[in-house]
Assembly symmetry: C3
Homo-oligomer: 218 residues x 3
Amino acid sequence: MSSSAPWLLGHLQLAAEATATVAFALSGVIEGARKRLDAVGICVVGGLAAFGGGTLRDVLMDRRPLFWVEHPGWLWGTLALCILAMLFMRSRHLEPTERAMQWPDAVGLGLFTASGTQIALDAGMPGIVAVLFGMVTAVFGGVLRDIVCNEIPRAFSDHRPYAICSFLGGWALVAAHTSHWPQWLAILLAAGLASGLRTAAILLDWRLPAWRAAAPRD
Amino acid sequence: MSSSAPWLLGHLQLAAEATATVAFALSGVIEGARKRLDAVGICVVGGLAAFGGGTLRDVLMDRRPLFWVEHPGWLWGTLALCILAMLFMRSRHLEPTERAMQWPDAVGLGLFTASGTQIALDAGMPGIVAVLFGMVTAVFGGVLRDIVCNEIPRAFSDHRPYAICSFLGGWALVAAHTSHWPQWLAILLAAGLASGLRTAAILLDWRLPAWRAAAPRD
Amino acid sequence: MSSSAPWLLGHLQLAAEATATVAFALSGVIEGARKRLDAVGICVVGGLAAFGGGTLRDVLMDRRPLFWVEHPGWLWGTLALCILAMLFMRSRHLEPTERAMQWPDAVGLGLFTASGTQIALDAGMPGIVAVLFGMVTAVFGGVLRDIVCNEIPRAFSDHRPYAICSFLGGWALVAAHTSHWPQWLAILLAAGLASGLRTAAILLDWRLPAWRAAAPRD
């Protein structure tokens, strides 16, 4: 198993990445539709939600070429997805699509956390920095999407655990890396933990504590 | 002609770039005035509208030195322009100035599209990536201006063809480049197409289709 | 004195930097609390306010490693500060804390202006570019904080001198650098000028002129 597992995981990872990218891009399309953006704006916001987090990580880490420069097929796929969504999605589809996308989005949260953290560890960065880059990869696509749509980023304001799942998954990867686990196992653990926590948070309706300090204002 | 054309075009291009930069900077000044920014904010937003797109492209492509680091005279010029606009522009000037600036803005859209796309092609990037960098160059100065002014970017929400003109102009350049046209002719074609489409869109009041999916919400 | 002054200044500078970073981070915590962000959002906005300006400068200048990658202890300290602030700060503390933080914030404005300008001068950049990078270092942490919190950046809209103090302090450093003053003296002059102007602006309630052009709109 130790030799075929990485190969199998490689294929599984590609499928999971495609699924997660679809979920991230559709979150941008739905947000853009709600804000009544035009067709161009919806495609831009969809692409930003899908690729913004990894791009910001690469710019901060000074890694080139960017993922979508090296693999432009993902740009074509995302563009096609956004156009198809605009052609076939109706207003009554927005809410059910958003609910359905929670699950692949949770997969993406785990996967992008693990890949971002691993890339930073490979570059020799200390644990907290690697965890931070994992969070940037997984969460900042949605943050940029919300900033362009003129909203406070949902990941910071809806009191649902999202970035915190990425944070904990990242630390799991750092711990496994420090303990010299095989890399594929460490990634699997981290992605599974982040995705699992997010899934549990949705299913069990977990909330982040509200800060009492903010209560009496506005 | 084949030898003097590039020389003449070089001078024409400089004049067109200066005109376009004035239009972009003034769009920032006007937007800042509407949002009641103070003098510092207006200069920052003017500069962001003028140089933000090219700077974002250079950061994403990891090109240095940045344009305005290499040619700081453009910073001085833009600063002087913003201060002069604040001294001499009155509230009754805002709307007529904005209307008058549509035409140099259309010139800038074409020119910055062509230069951004060409730079990416020269760096060996695939077609869709080059077109994307052309759009970033031409459109994201205005996007950053609107984000700082706490508005949904106009380029994505006013249902007027803007980024799409840049998109089509960029593809024209990629096609001409692939067909081994002389570079100055390819740039002229792309800039002319993007600027021409934008001009036609203004004159003929073209609209991007609204997306019905968004209709019943909010 | 000429030999011990730099050593003493080095220690004073570290203390001043820590104080200023606390003030910047707390400005993010307070803004996040007002916007009712959750605990994760408050920590992110606190960190962005503290480190965003220097990070943006380093990305624009293509300097690596980033400050907080090289010294991750500052990340831990900021995280601890944000959590402590959330545990112990109550709503009645928000306004007094914000007022108290004006003074260390003024120290930070001067210090970050001087360090950002000096770094750009060391890289051989022309005066206006160096001054601009000093302003980015000192001011854009707060700008990013306000953008994520969906506000027009306060530095551009509250008609109080803030960025302009940084601008003038930066030029003082450029002038001293050109006159071949010892570096520590030039930095002390620039930081003192920017901090002093800001302090005077608060104490004497200085205002930036409003632009009459904007008056009749909205």
